[in-house]
Every structure is written in C-alpha cells, then in structure tokens.
C-alpha cells in the first residue's frame, strides 16, 4: 500500500511558510499531520533534520518545491509542542518522532493484554515487540525505547510494572 499524499503536497504555497498567522496555523497543522502519517506509514521513529530536507516529505520533486530548513525547524517545533517529537540533542539535529504518544501505545498494548487474558503475566520486552503472538498487532516491531516509554506510562497508571531480568527487561501487567 503506497503512501497517500494529502492534497496540500501538490499545492506550491504549502512549501512556503505563510506570513499570515491564521493561514500559517492551518499550514503547520497540515504539515504536522503529513509528517506524522508519513513516519507512521514508513514506521520511522527517528528523524535527522538534515536528512529530512531531502526526504520526499519535505521535498516534492514533482512540483519542484521543498520546505526550507527554517520552515522544517518550525514544523518540528510545532510537533514537539504537541508532544509528538522529542529532541535527541541540544543542537536539535536529531529527534524522536512519536506518531503515537507513549500513553497511546501503552493503551494499545494493555488492550491487547486484557483481550487475550494475559493480565498478571510476565513478558520480556522482546516477546512483546517481536514475539509470534503479537504479530499483526500495531505495536509489533516497536522500537525498544518506545516500548519502554509506553510501559513506563502504563506503570505510572498502575497497570504494569517493569522488572529487570538477567538479560534485559521484563514487564508484568496488572
């Protein structure tokens, strides 16, 4: 299934940061949703700002428009404000993209656990993300840091507890 671009992607003004505040707000909202859905479609968890400029998201070769570095920064800041992005360094050159926030992931995992009646069972993180049971689930092959973050979110809700085991981490659901 190929990625379906939104209509804005072929609209040249989309690639110019709009000076009008209202227009810009709508434009940025569109950019945020495009960036997230693109990452989700391609299961991207980290982004490099320098590379991002060359990625098809921000560079439409068909209409020969690309979003400027400054504009990309603005979009990323907007994403970070919404809680969908976290910077990995102070220079803001790499970032984590969370097209689903940890709490949302946690909820998904917990739903699957309770659906399959596995409350009070212990899992290793590997089992959860790469095990045969979870195949076909959205959180299958979720990156470990993301998985850990979502389980931590569950832990604060009192629905899980992370345990340290000999060779890695495990989790018990309540």
């Amino acid at each position: 299934m190929s990625f379906e671009w939104p209509w804005q992607y072929n609209f040249p003004p989309f690639f110019t940061l709009q000076p009008n505040a209202d227009t810009r707000q709508k434009q940025l909202a569109a950019w945020c949703s495009l960036a997230l859905s693109y990452c989700r479609h391609h299961k991207l968890y980290t982004l490099d700002v320098m590379e991002a400029q060359e990625s098809p998201v921000f560079n439409n070769k068909k209409i020969e428009r690309k979003l400027s570095m400054e504009a990309i920064q603005v979009v990323f800041e907007q994403l970070s404000k919404k809680g969908n992005l976290e910077w990995l360094d102070k220079n803001k050159s790499r970032c984590l993209v969370m097209w689903r926030r940890p709490e949302e992931w946690g909820k998904l995992i917990y739903q699957w656990i309770s659906k399959n009646g596995m409350v009070n069972s212990v899992f290793t993180l590997y089992e959860l993300a790469n095990g045969d049971d979870t195949e076909g689930e959205e959180f299958h092959s979720l990156e470990e840091w993301m998985l850990l973050r979502s389980l931590q979110a569950l832990q604060t809700d009192g629905k899980a507890e992370i345990i340290t085991m000999d060779d890695g981490k495990g989790v018990k659901f309540f």
Partner: protein, 385 residues
C-alpha cells in the same frame, strides 16, 4: 539727524583726523537740533560732533552716508551753514540721539566761522573716498570701542568674539539673500497675475485677437503650467497653504485617478503634479502634508500608507473590500499570479498591484509561494479546504 549714532569720539586705527572746528551747531533739516553748540570733527571716515561742555555726548556718522553737500552763505543774523544731504538710513543702525527724522538732510551752522576751510576739506575727502580703501568695511559707529577691543582681544575671548562676528556676518548675508528671494516671489506673483488677466481677456474675446494668436498664447500659458498656481506666498506657510494645496490636488487628481483604477503611488502623484505646475514646483514634503489634509477637508481622496511604508493616493470610493475581492477574483481566475502578472492584468504599477495582493493575503484570502521562480500568490486553500 537719524543717521547719527552715539560714539566715544575715538578714531579707528586707519582713520585720521582731517579738520576740527569749534562752535558748530547741528540742524535736523530745518529745525535746530536738541543739542548744544559743539566741535565738529571731520575724519577720513566720519563726520563727528562732540558737545563742547559734555565730552561724553559725542555722535558720529560715516561719510559714506553723504550724498552731496552745499554751502549756505551767512546772512543777516545768520551764521554760515553747510547743508549735507544724506542717504536712507541703514536698517540695523546703532542707536543715536534721533531714532528717526523726517528730513533727509542736516545742516552744520558755523557760529565761529571756519566753514570755508571745513567745506574745502569735506570736498577733498568726498572725492578721495579714503574710507573705501581701509580694511574696516562696516560703517564706523558707536561700536568703535568694542571693535578696537576686538582686535586687541586674545585667547578664548578673542576667538569667541571672532565667532560672534562671523555669525553676525552670516546672519546679514542670509537676510540679504532671502530679501532677494521674496522680491522674486512678488515679481512671480505679478507675472501670474498678468498671465491670468491676459487669459481672461482672451476668454472674453476682447480686442482683435485672432484665433491663431489665442491658441498660441494658450500654449505658452500651458507650457508655463497652471495659470494661477497656489504658492506659499499667496497663502502663507503651514496649514492654510496645505489646505489650499489639498483642494487643488483634489481637483487635479480626480481624472488621473479614475483612469488608473482609483489608486496612484505618491511618487507618481508628485511627478504628475509638478509636471502640471511647471514652474511653481512642490516639495515632496508639502505634497505629503497636503495629502494628509484630504480627510479633514472631506475631499473624495485619501492618502493611504501600506504596511510596507508605500504611500498612495486613492479615491475614497475605492474601497479596500473591493480591492481585496478583485485581487482574489483575479488570482482564482488564473490559478495563481505574481505581482507583475497582476499589474499587467489591471494596468497598475507593479508596486501597487503587489500591495493589493499583500493586502488580500493579510486578510487571509490569498497565500504565497515564495520560490526561486519568484513570489506567486494562490487562493488560500488552507483556509477554505
């Protein structure tokens, strides 16, 4: 008598005494002066008179003031006199015993004779004009002592005095320069007056002016600009002048504005107005000030300043909404437009068409695509979608 000013009776550096004569009484014209009998001194530069008893009472007058003089022989009970005819008083004369006088001549009455010798020496001095060859250019007057002091003064005080002297000189020069200018203005007004009266005559077809001559004269007037330009001189400075100017602009600009779609850049207005005026050119400042008065005068024109600082004159009927609507219509029609394309479409200047597009963008009807190909405007699909 008003040509005389108070003096300390001391001679200037380059001045030398020629003759002195006791027992001389001064007459202001035909009237006896309110001064006693005294000593008349003739120097190379001045005619000096000093009271015989009170030596502090001393007056002087530069010889350059003398136009001509004549001897009046003594008569029965009358002493011999010398009548001296004088020039008009200078404007900023030093104070003297008389501030003004109805006479333009004075008489020296010689009670103790000596008029013959005095007259001879005066004639000599007036022909030699030795005062012209000395470095002292200003009329020597009561300022003598301070002037002598000036040359002596050294150090900071001296420098300060020099500067002060320079400033006074400059002041004088400026005054003179502007005097010329105002004279010119008066003459110019006469010229305008004249051309108007001739124009009126032509209009009334008075006299035997042929059709050809009429046309020729009218073309002359046209080449000179408006027949009766409003000038600073006729209306004074400041607000009143600008108000009149604003009214004139209102009449003038109506037609050109309508031709240009209701809006003109101020620079364009400036060129147009000054081309029409021909001679009585407007300063940009006056134009702006006049344009600022449109609103208070309830004229159908408005001065408008765009966010970018561009100033335009527009018809009042030319509303913003219409402008924005037309910009949006045109852009929607063509899909997208640059300022240049929009200008061509509307017959406007690029500057103004860009302002319109920016205005439409500001209210959120348009959005921009700023690429290497230039700035293009698109309908704002972000808001509508």
């Amino acid at each position: 008598m008003d040509r005389f000013s108070w003096s300390n009776g001391l001679l200037e550096i380059n001045e030398t005494l020629v003759i002195q004569q006791r027992g001389v009484r001064l007459y202001d014209g035909d009237d006896k002066a309110k001064l006693d009998v005294g000593v008349a001194l003739l120097s190379t530069h001045r005619l000096i008179w000093r009271d015989v008893k009170n030596h502090e009472c001393c007056i002087a007058m530069p010889l350059s003031q003398i136009l001509l003089f004549e001897e009046l022989a003594a008569g029965l009970g009358k002493s011999a006199k010398i009548v001296i005819h004088l020039q008009e008083t200078t404007v900023n004369k030093e104070p003297g015993p008389y501030q003004n006088s109805k006479y333009s001549f004075i008489k020296l009455s010689f009670k103790e004779h000596g008029q013959i010798e005095f007259h001879r020496r005066l004639t000599e001095e007036m022909t030699q004009k030795r005062w012209e060859n000395t470095p002292v250019s200003q009329p020597i007057s009561a300022g003598t002592s301070s002037q002598a002091g000036r040359t002596r003064a050294v150090g900071i005080v001296g420098i300060e005095r020099k500067i002060e002297e320079k400033r006074k000189e400059t002041d004088k020069n400026i005054c003179e320069a502007f005097e010329d200018l105002s004279k010119l203005m008066v003459k110019a007004k006469e010229m305008v007056e004249l051309s108007r009266s001739i124009a009126n005559k032509i209009k009334d077809k008075q006299g035997d002016i042929s059709e050809d001559e009429t046309i020729r004269f009218k073309s002359y007037l046209l080449s000179m600009g408006i027949a009766n330009p409003v000038t600073r001189d006729t209306y004074g400075t400041g607000t009143h002048y600008h108000m009149q100017l604003a009214k004139q602009l209102g009449d003038m600009l109506q037609a050109p504005l309508e031709e240009r779609g209701g809006m003109m850049a101020l620079t364009e207005v400036y060129c147009l107005v000054n081309r029409a005026r021909g001679m009585e050119l407007l300063s940009p400042e006056d134009l702006v000030n006049a344009c600022k008065m449109f609103e208070s005068l309830k004229l159908p024109l408005r001065l408008r300043v765009f966010d970018s600082g561009v100033m335009v004159v527009q018809l009042q009927s030319h509303s913003e909404e219409e402008m924005i609507a037309s910009a949006l219509d045109n852009v929607t029609d063509k899909g997208s437009l640059t300022a240049e394309e929009f200008a061509k479409l509307l017959g406007l200047s690029v500057l103004l068409s860009k302002e319109r597009l920016l205005l439409a963008e500001k209210v959120g009807h348009l959005c921009r695509d700023d690429s290497v190909e230039g700035l293009r405007f698109y309908p704002n699909l972000f808001s509508t979608a």
